[in-house]
Amino acid sequence: MPEAGWHTYWRNPGDSGEAPRVSLSSDAPLSFGDIQWPVPQAIPVAHLVNYGYEGENLLMIPVDVPATLSTDEVSVSAELSWLVCKEDCIPGNATLQLTLPVAASSSASAAALLFEKARQQLPDDKWLSGQLEINEASVAVEIALPAEMTSTTSSQWTLFPFPSNLIQHANPQYFTVDEGVLRSVIDKSPYWAGDVESINWLLSDGRQGFYVSTALAGQAHSGDAKASALALWDILGLAGMALLGGIILNLMPCVLPVLSIKALGLQQTQESKAVKLGFIKLGYPLGVLVSFNALAVTMLALQASGEKLGWGFQMQEPSIVILLSFLFTFIALVLFDALQVGTRLAGIGSHLIAGQGFGAQFFTGVLAVIVASPCTAPFMAAAIGVALVSEPAIVLVVFNALAIGFALPLTLLVFSQRLSQFLPKPGNWMVTFKHMLAFPMLATVAWLCWVYAGQTSHQAQFGLLLALITFSFSVWLSGRLHRAVPKWICASVALACLVLPMYLTAQLPDANQPARSITDNAVPFSKQALSSLIKQEQIVLVNMTADWCITCKVNEQVAFADADVRAALSAENVHYMVGDWTNKNDSILAYLNDYQRSGVPLYVVYSGTQSKQVLPQILTPSIVIDAINQATEEIPHE
């Protein structure tokens, strides 16, 4: 038994030392398991930390004895090597022999009590699971605690990693517990060179231990994961829907009559040689495809410039959800004929598509898209709405599928006139059909309102619904009025209904980001705002974070939730700017790249135009306060 102050080691000895090794063998066919390590202690040795046991400890090894064992006794021999250290170390080794009687029933040996005691020091049988994040200079873990541990008020948390070269054993481990989830960040060892999928740990609260398996968090360090996450089947599904939508477009009241005339015209010119050339026959669908792609490219350009301007066209943005809910309500109103849109244009269609050559066919296709737009607009608007919140590849797929669907009926007619008998005759049913199509639009509005409620609150959702109803009323009323001025008033009311909830939502604290709203005066990151604050010789703390970033959450709870830090951040000339990289955002990516980072967290404190300092990835309240104080001193005072 080691004397006081001497220790032996756990499976990972920490900064120095060596775990004991035991190799068992027997003359009988016994099988030996692995060492059952008791929960170790973190033992400081000068500037290092070792993981091990001070004083006496028992390393148990389970042995499987086959039931068929027929001998009277078995002999077990053990090759042992160990290291025992205080500050100096003494290695030891021994070969031990033990002969045990074989009996049908078990009886306690003299050492039974010792085993009983050792069993109580073992970690729990149940493994916990967690997430692991390996950053440039730190390692973060997130573990869902078992119920019995969530109530613990222990300040004795320690995470013991299985590999010896993952963390800096001697550095502090920061812990936060929030709603049953424990998070910790620890400085990374400079010797970590592994690329692993998972790491095992032992988590101790000072009394009991749990093994934890942490998997490398599948977070997107770049926004690319979003696109690849869409499976092929999802894309095919979207394309199928768009194709169907394109075919339905042909049934619209201002398209079908034109289509019928065209079909009739084709029958009359059946003998014309030109039409029989496939090249010319394809003119119409090509024209349609080109027009739709031009529209898709325009949408993508708008989307890209929008991102550069810092508006994210994302469903995560409540203002985008509001915009879409108004758009779909408006589409429903148009489909209900509450408002007549561009009826004058529709008539032009009929004579435009009467040509015969390739050019004529091609422009027929182009013009069909434009001319039919009053009727197709509601559907096109839905496609545009999808386009604004989707990846470029998806946008192109959707628009092309729409185009093919739209061009399909007439193209088939050109190739085979016999199909024209399947063409439905235009009639009153078209109006009914159109009205019916308003209901899927309204269902979409219902879904958007539900999304909005999740992003904000029930009260906000109620406000949005009222705004939508007032909007609908104004649109309906303006459709029934004939004088310009009352129409204009109605349009203004409708616009106000749209703008007001957008404005109010922007004022709401974001319910989805409680950790961030802790600091009341945080403003969202924008490059322009940052450079203007710097020019005004203000102090700015930029916090680049993401919902999936464990380190960020620990820092927000440990450092940014601290009362002194909050006070420092609400000083008059101090500004706290938060960039949320949960979703793809090119302006944040560009900022991170400026600091040679590929991921979050990143904390930078600007002292006006004087200086900037990059804070460490693991923050304490004093690091933040010191940085702000230093920045304050550097600011020139007029």
Partner: protein, 201 residues
């Protein structure tokens, strides 16, 4: 939202955080130390040559493993013959294990037939901490331009057993031979193993 946040810090040893970060392919920290012949030796004296730093403590069982087996001496001989500078550094503080005076150091060198270019004394531990040296042995390789090329253990098997040397991959040997033949080091960082360095304080 009735959200409570329970935040606290747990410190395992907190007394010490004065360790510098070491980075592969970045300039190795400069130093000047006195050798066992009373001469001042600086890292900059060896610009243009490969330099090996070996943290040592003759009473540490892990150091003894590599000296009793002549593993360390063979490495020293093999590479000093190829114009590599070998610096054995003792960061043990006075009164602690492994601390020796100049005469004892020279006697150890001749007794063990060791051939380091210099044995350097770092009783304050300043240089050891600059390099974040943790154990004896702890090995570093610096290239002729002064960049750190390797840091870590002497070999791949963490034990004090001489029998393991033959089975292990000697990282100092593989790294130096790669560097001398113009190749890059396969594993520039490996976990060091051994006794803790007996720093002052």
């Amino acid at each position: 939202m009735n959200k409570y946040v329970l935040g606290f810090f747990a410190f395992i040893a907190l007394s010490f955080n004065a360790f510098a970060a070491i980075t592969i392919d970045k300039p190795a920290p400069q130093f000047t130390l006195t050798d066992s012949h009373g001469q001042e030796v600086s890292l900059s004296d060896f610009a243009g040559k490969y330099v090996v730093l070996e943290w040592t403590n003759h009473l540490c069982p892990y150091v003894q493993k590599h000296y009793q087996s002549s593993n360390m001496q063979q490495l020293q001989t093999k590479y000093t013959e190829q114009d590599v500078v070998w610096l054995s550094i003792i960061s043990s503080a006075p009164g602690k294990q492994g601390y020796v005076d100049a005469d004892e150091a020279n006697q150890l060198t001749s007794e063990r037939s060791a051939v380091p270019t210099h044995v350097l004394f770092d009783p304050s531990g300043e240089v050891g901490k600059q390099y974040a040296a943790k154990t004896t042995p702890h090995m570093y390789i610096i290239d002729p331009q002064g960049s750190l090329k390797y840091a870590g253990g002497i070999d791949s098997i963490k034990s004090a057993d001489i029998a393991d040397i033959a089975k292990a991959v000697n990282y100092v040997d593989t790294s130096l031979s790669a560097l001398l033949s113009g190749e890059t080091v396969d594993k520039p960082l490996t976990p060091p193993y051994g006794c803790s360095i007996k720093y002052a304080g």
